[in-house]
Subunit: 366 residues, 4 copies
């Protein structure tokens, strides 16, 4: 039997349940889970803030495991086309089922908007099997996008940034940072921290983080942020003035929103300079409206705003390369505040909700 954490319904206590070990289809893969992250999405799931979630679910979308078994009759291949073998340490794209045939997949080239896509730990039901990472084993059907971790990359280092890294990598790619740019990041959770790191790996001239609480801002500084502003201590006017002072009166060349607060969006428009770029990646759930001035905040500013949704195989694959290559420079594992066993998952969720931790991992004790 396989133990897994189940979220039966919003606001209900998590439970550990036993599942039968699955029969594998040809080319399917069973992972023995090394770890799985706890992410802000998991708190949204628990609060019931996401539509279309087929509770009960096994949470956990970004995970790492050892290949325990490959379903007989077909090979499993990684993204580079190599055969995947038992004993390998791999991660996988949490998104499955992207159809490759619909208008968004083939004409729009916007695969993160494919209506067929489903997400491990989010939109796949525990009734259908081990389809989430907070579990001793994870069942990956044929065609899952498998990415081996390089030997030089500690699996904890990979999980330390969790889905924050591919999400931020997508956002920072869309931000088109130029060498020497001043980049403001709104939000200091995992996505914001990763964006602040990645801005440095695009040659930003100055990286400013607006967020809180203090422990997260201290982490931002430790990971290279040049300036931090705590939203608890400063007003929007303070931040506007500070950013303008840092930029010769112009404002940020690029701003990246990773906060989740609607009010951050018009502030971000104003923090950005004329003809600058603003990427909004943090508005993952609907928590209300925002008001702005189309003339002053958008048109006269010649401002570009890009909403950024989801991530694809490329973002995850590139995240692995970046985490591996720049581990000499950034001590990823220091982002992990605490590891929790399966029975401690409820505690993990509450610690994340209370922002007592930067990154929490679920690590099944096998």
């Amino acid at each position: 039997m396989v133990s897994a954490v189940v979220m039966g319904a919003p606001q209900q206590p998590l439970e550990v349940r036993d599942f039968p070990r699955p029969e594998l289809e040809p080319g399917a893969v069973l992972l023995r889970t090394l770890g799985s992250e706890v992410c802000g999405t998991d708190t949204h799931l628990w609060k019931g803030q996401l539509a279309g979630v087929p509770y009960p679910i096994i949470p956990g979308h970004v995970s790492v495991g050892v290949v325990a078994e490959v379903g007989a009759g077909a090979e499993a291949r990684d993204v580079s086309g190599r055969s995947v073998e038992p004993g390998q340490v791999v991660t996988f794209l949490d998104v499955v089922g992207t159809c490759g045939r619909c208008w968004f997949c083939t004409v729009g080239h916007a695969t993160t908007r494919c209506p067929q896509r489903r997400v491990y730990g989010v939109t796949l039901s525990a009734d259908d099997g081990l389809l989430g990472g907070w579990s001793e084993h994870i069942h990956l059907g044929p065609g899952a996008h498998l990415i081996p971790l390089p030997d030089s990359l500690d699996w904890r280092a990979f999980l330390a940034t969790g889905c924050g890294m591919p999400t931020a990598l997508h956002a920072v790619t869309m931000a088109e940072i130029q060498f020497g740019d001043t980049v403001v990041v709104q939000g200091s959770g995992p996505v914001g921290l990763c964006a602040a790191v990645l801005a440095q790996l695009r040659g930003a001239g100055r990286v400013v983080v607006v967020g809180g609480p203090a422990n997260r801002l201290a982490t931002a500084t430790a990971f290279g942020a040049d300036d931090v502003f705590d939203i608890a201590d400063t007003t929007e006017a303070d931040r506007l003035e500070a950013v303008r002072e840092l930029t010769g009166g112009r404002g940020a060349d690029v701003t990246i929103e990773a906060s989740g607060a609607p009010v951050a969006v018009p502030e971000g428009m104003r923090l950005t300079r004329d003809a600058g770029r603003y990427v909004v990646v943090g508005q993952y759930t609907n928590v209300g409206d925002a008001t702005f001035n189309p003339h002053l905040d958008l048109n006269q500013k010649h401002l570009e705003i890009r909403g950024c949704w989801g991530s694809d195989v490329g973002h995850l694959h590139r995240s692995v390369q970046v985490l591996d290559r720049y581990a000499r420079q950034f001590p990823w594992t220091e982002l992990i505040s605490r590891e929790y066993g399966l029975p401690e998952a409820q505690q993990a969720l509450e610690d994340v909700l209370a922002q007592r931790v930067v990154k929490a991992l679920i690590v099944p004790r096998h």
Copy 2:
């Protein structure tokens, strides 16, 4: 003496005044005006809705004239480097003084945000001379950006689209329309009509115009719009439903706002499909705020929004080429509803304000 229309102050009647014929600096140019457009900006100027206007001014920013004289001691050269000679029919960029030295000019490559730029007919004072187009003559200092009209291009055809064409050309360029895209244009004034034409010259698969009144929508149809919706007859919900029906439920690939109404902006976000693009060019004055939902209208949509401000030499130069090349296909002069002499300028302004005309020209009778 030279007669010119003077707008002495907001809301005051226009007057025709006499000015001395100017002494030309070396390389300066004196134009004998053939015509000058009346544009929505002129109505904003008259209502006092623009900041930083040094009344009294001679209105008229996009104009055509015959070169009457070149200031002795230096050549005047056009944008292609050829000498400009008396007798040539030319237009010129209304924007002058862009410094080429500031951060926006040299590092930001956003010349339309250069703080030194001034605009003929808008931010140059009648106290400083013949610096607007509603005048028998126009005084262009050394270094003005001169663009000859090709012999094959009627000057009235050029003025028929006025500053709407370079403005729309800038916006449509930023819209990055792909072949076969469905393009929605919000607004049916000169910028919107030009955008609807230019969308066809980007290979759009369908062009939809949302605006009014009926005479402008009829013009849109005559110039190739596939569908028009009158805002007087339809609600936002009607328009959303109609556009979705035209696009297999997805929404417009590209939307271009050229209406000036703040409420059009959140509507435009919703009219656009997931991963589509929205260009906002019409919010030229501050007439209030707008409210939107950052999660639904921006982030989850993976929407790109681009504010578009001003136009540069390239936009005007390219407009001349397009007007000339595609005159066989689009009967530009039909956009001109009426021509007015200098003493009729007040009437022209009122006709534009009341939307009784599509395009009005000021044509001095020499």
Copy 3:
């Protein structure tokens, strides 16, 4: 039984053979062929100039047919997700098997370089069934990318441009033509002619076609080319001088190679202005090397060169929209020189080889 043209081996006479009507897999589609184009690729196939071709093959990659049957047990859906029903007139992407899983599909986002892709009429064998268009029926497996033709689009109009249109649409998209640009197209076959048309649907200010023979150049002129140069009558030096004269001495803003001659490539670099763009789409087979000067022809010119290979669902889908929308402007069917029955396929091939025709169609008589 189903009659189809078979190319048994390079340089061997084509034959008409009978095939059994196939059993359809669930969701597969059998088309009754209305027509299929004869394209330059077919002449390359017959001359044996392409590697990896599994002779015998049924030629014909871009085709139109009526849905005769859908394999029971699953729906067939078009690119927009709608169910495809018997009686509909559809085309389909000739490329099948793109895997959606390899590095090029998922990380590189370069699906035309997916190693799994196969092409109807080119890299699929007649031993495996009705997998080419010069046949009374065409067998499309489950998952083929089906695109219905709009009622307003004559199937002959669609076939008149054949695979030239999606190929040119890909190239012209990569060319990033700006409004008013001077565009030179090298080559006046179907790809070149389509590129010359599409350049006008990007708002080019002038379209110049370099090619031959005279009948094709006459077609180019009829389809809107502003200038044509016959390579039989002019030298490279003549053409360089002529293009510079047309462009104020600068050269073309954009050049598109669609000729297939290696020597055209260095000439194209020189025809293009400094900081211009050059798209090479016509070098479909290896017919030798070319020599250029890296300093003068590339680096000092600040030239951008883009090789363009293959086309995807989006290019075909957009081609259908463009052909339909702009049929009022371009008389597509006039490109068809002659239609041939299946037994006349050899003659069709020879007429294309001799450039006696612009576009030849194979039209089975049912």
Copy 4:
């Protein structure tokens, strides 16, 4: 009097001559030179390999000085609009005279192709004054683009990369490196070394340098290159095989040519993967032709090639920000092999020619 090094004619020994201290125009600036780089261009100048050089010249294009005097009657302003005052340490763009009015400046937005541009130390004559950096003082006319060095940036650190940094920054910007990409740099001179550093500041997953001699490759490794290949020890076939092995058989995602050898260009095409990007920046002089296969090396590869010429104010400004911000990570001054006084300039030139040094500086002893 002011001492300066004069290159009287190609292949003639350099001399130190005395010049009168210049009278300054209003807003002009006289710098007391702190240092000026010796660059490969200076060796080309001395060998007479560049066209249009108005010998005699004072060499030295990238230089740093202290503001000694500002011409009375007008302010001198830096790129950010601040007044420049005596005592400040500044650098300046070597390019002056870019007209801001021609087609390339205004329509083409390709200012590095403006025909009016002149370059300090290259295309300005010593007969016209102190217009090069190998001099005790440098005379900057009104309108020169001045960029102050931040207090935190040692002027030697700035000069250590010389014009290699803005040149490489331009090239790497055009290379559009994505996170995790494998980047191959051809050439290990200052431009190549800077490109290898900047690739890391774009988040490359692996940086490979192909060049020589051994001391430069050792520097490349010290500055973070993951792999180096000495062209003296390896063949093109060796390098192709090695790069393919490092990239799962695909080739480099991005290749940057900074070698100056024509034969490097076709090799670079082959080193790059299908649908990859190749930037050619090193072919600064005409030293012969190259041969390639348009089908295999360009079209079928779907390869993008970008020639990169010159640099502008933005590239220099951004270079200063990057050198300052990432000085904690890269020990710039270690690139300086030796400093030479004015009388030693001939020796400096010969050491650079013989590749005995990585970077040589001319440092006048005041």
